[in-house]
C-alpha cells in the first residue's frame, strides 16, 4: 500500500509515459519528492528554481486542493490519491 500519484497527460512525456506512480509517503512533499527523484525531468515542470511548487500546477489530495489543506505538508496515508493538475489552454486551434 502506498500513496498513488496520478500524472496528468501534459506531464506524462516527462514521466516515461506513465499514468500513475505509487510511493510510500507521509505527506505531499514526500510524495512529490519521490516522484521527481524517479523522473528528474518532471522537477522543473512542477517546481520553480527556488523549489516552490509552481502556481499553475495545482495539487489535490483525494479531490481537495492542498492550498486549502496544509499545502505541501498535507499528510497522506496509504490508499490516498494525489492529483497534479496543471493549467492547459488549448481549444481553438
Amino acid at each position: 500500500m502506498a500513496v498513488r500519484v496520478l500524472i496528468p497527460p501534459p506531464l506524462r512525456p516527462h514521466a516515461g509515459g506513465q499514468v500513475a506512480a505509487e510511493f510510500p509517503a507521509r505527506n505531499v512533499a514526500e510524495a512529490l519528492d519521490r516522484l521527481t527523484s524517479e523522473f528528474a525531468d518532471l522537477k522543473r515542470h512542477l517546481f520553480t528554481e527556488e523549489g516552490r511548487l509552481r502556481s499553475f500546477v495545482n495539487v489535490y489530495v483525494n479531490g481537495e486542493d492542498i492550498r486549502y489543506l496544509a499545502e505541501e505538508k498535507t499528510p497522506t496515508k496509504d490508499g490516498d490519491t494525489i492529483n497534479i493538475i496543471p493549467s492547459i489552454a488549448g481549444g481553438k486551434r
Partner: protein, 394 residues
C-alpha cells in the same frame, strides 16, 4: 400547476414561438425541464462564444440547434486544412474563409430563427468589455493563456458567467467561473505557466473528438445556466481523460485573497495580458533564439554538390514517419544524453518541423562545444515550400 402553458404567462409565451419553432423544438417542449418556459428563456438568451475552433464547433452547433436566440462569434482566424480534423462546423469549401463568418453561415443555415453575429476581430483588453456587455453568458473556447485571463477578468468585472473549457491532447477541463460567490480562473490558477513550458495544441496535438466532448459539456452547462435548472459546474472542476476514459471532479474554492474576485481586489481594470503571460506580440511563445542558420535552398545546393553534411532531425519518431529528410533522428528531449552520437568535427545541419526546436538544439550543442552547426531555417515546412513540394507539410 401541471399545465403551465395555460397560465397567462404561458399564453403570452406561445405568441412568441411560431408554429415552425414549436415543431423545431418539440423534443424540448415536451420535456417538463425545458417546456415552453425554458424554450423562451433560450430564445431570449444572448451567448458570446470566444473562439469558433475545436470547442467552438460543438458549442455553436448545439447552442444554435437548441434555439439560443442570439449567438455572438468572436474569432480573427481563417479556416485551414488542419482545422477540419476536429472543427466540425467547417467544410472543405470553407478553407481560406474567416472562421467567424464561415461559422455564422453554417449556424444560420442550421437555425434561421436565431440571430448569429460574427465578430471578425481579435479579443483584446481594448474591446473585451464592450463586446461582452451585450451578452448574458460568455463561453471560453480559446487556445492561449493571455486570452483565458482576459476573458476571466472581463467576466468578473462585468459580473457575467464564464463557461470555461480547455483541452490538451486527450485531456479536458471544464467548469464555470464568474458566478456570484463562485471562484474565478485566477482562484484556480493565479499565474500562467512561463512561455514554452506547456506546449500548445498546435505543437502537442489534440485528438479530434476531444474538443467535441468538452465543447458539448460546455454547451450543456450553458443551456442549464439559461434554464436555471439542475446543478451546474460552479465550484467544481471536471477533468476528462479520454485515454483512460473517465471523469474526475475536484472542488474549486473562491480564493479570498484572489486579486481579481477576492475581498481586496487589486485588479480593477483589464491589463496587458501578453505581458502578464510573458508573451510579447502575437501568440509567439519563447523569443527566437539567435543561432547560425542555413536556408533550405542553400542546403539543397550544398547537398547536390556532394558536400559532407550531417543532417540531424530533432523531431519525434512519429513525426519522422510522416516525412523526413533522411536525417539522423535524435528527439530534442533525448539530445543531452545522446550527444555522443554526434561528431563535432563534421558540419551538422539540425532541423525540425518549423525550425523552433532545432534552434534550441543548435543552441544546446553550441553550448556543448559544437562549432560547425547550423539550423535549417523554417524546418521541414520551408523545405516543402522552397525545395521539394513532394514533402508533406503537417
Amino acid at each position: 400547476m401541471a399545465t403551465k402553458v395555460e397560465t397567462p404567462a404561458g399564453v403570452k409565451a406561445t405568441e412568441n414561438l411560431t408554429n415552425e419553432e414549436i415543431l423545431r423544438y418539440s423534443r424540448h417542449l415536451i420535456m417538463p425541464e425545458v417546456g415552453m418556459e425554458g424554450q423562451l428563456k433560450l430564445k431570449k438568451a444572448k451567448v458570446l462564444l470566444i473562439g469558433t475552433g475545436g470547442l467552438g464547433a460543438p458549442l455553436g452547433l448545439y447552442l444554435a440547434a437548441a434555439g439560443v436566440g442570439q449567438l455572438g462569434l468572436v474569432d480573427f482566424d481563417v479556416v485551414d486544412f488542419t482545422n477540419l480534423q476536429r472543427q466540425v462546423t467547417f467544410g472543405s469549401s470553407d478553407v481560406g474563409k474567416p472562421k467567424s463568418e464561415a461559422a455564422r453561415a453554417r449556424l444560420s443555415n442550421l437555425n434561421p430563427d436565431i440571430q448569429v453575429q460574427a465578430f471578425e476581430t481579435k479579443l483584446t483588453s481594448a474591446n473585451a468589455l464592450e463586446l461582452f456587455r451585450d451578452f448574458d453568458i460568455i463561453v471560453d473556447g480559446t487556445d492561449n493563456f493571455p486570452t483565458r485571463y482576459l476573458v476571466n477578468d472581463a467576466c468578473v468585472l462585468l459580473g457575467k458567467p464564464n463557461v470555461y473549457g480547455s483541452i490538451f491532447r486527450f485531456e479536458g477541463q471544464v467548469t464555470i467561473f464568474g458566478m456570484p460567490g463562485g471562484p474565478c480562473y485566477r482562484c484556480l490558477y493565479p499565474e500562467p505557466p512561463p512561455p514554452g513550458l506547456v506546449p500548445s495544441c498546435a505543437e502537442g496535438g489534440v485528438l479530434g473528438v476531444l474538443p467535441g466532448i468538452v465543447g458539448s459539456i460546455q454547451a450543456m452547462e450553458t443551456i442549464k445556466l439559461i434554464l436555471g435548472s439542475g446543478r451546474n459546474l460552479t465550484g467544481r472542476l471536471l477533468l476528462f481523460d479520454a485515454l483512460e476514459m473517465g471523469f474526475r471532479e475536484f472542488k474549486l474554492r473562491k480564493n479570498p485573497k484572489c486579486p481579481m474576485c477576492g475581498e481586496h481586489r487589486t485588479i480593477d481594470k483589464l491589463i496587458d495580458y501578453y505581458e502578464f503571460c510573458g508573451v510579447r506580440g502575437e501568440e509567439a511563445p519563447a523569443p527566437d533564439l539567435k543561432v547560425p542558420e542555413i536556408m533550405p535552398r542553400e542546403l539543397k545546393a550544398r547537398l547536390d554538390r556532394g558536400e559532407d553534411l550531417f543532417i540531424l532531425d530533432v523531431r519525434e519518431p512519429h513525426e519522422y514517419q510522416i516525412c523526413n529528410l533522411r536525417g539522423h533522428l535524435i528527439p530534442l528531449g533525448e539530445l543531452p544524453r545522446r550527444v555522443h552520437e554526434l561528431d563535432s568535427s563534421r558540419e551538422i545541419v539540425a532541423h525540425c518541423r518549423s525550425g523552433k526546436r532545432s534552434a534550441e538544439a543548435v543552441d544546446f550543442l553550441r553550448k556543448a562545444g559544437f562549432r560547425k552547426i547550423l539550423n535549417l531555417k523554417g524546418g521541414i515546412l520551408a523545405w516543402s515550400d522552397e525545395v521539394d513540394r513532394s514533402v508533406p507539410k503537417y
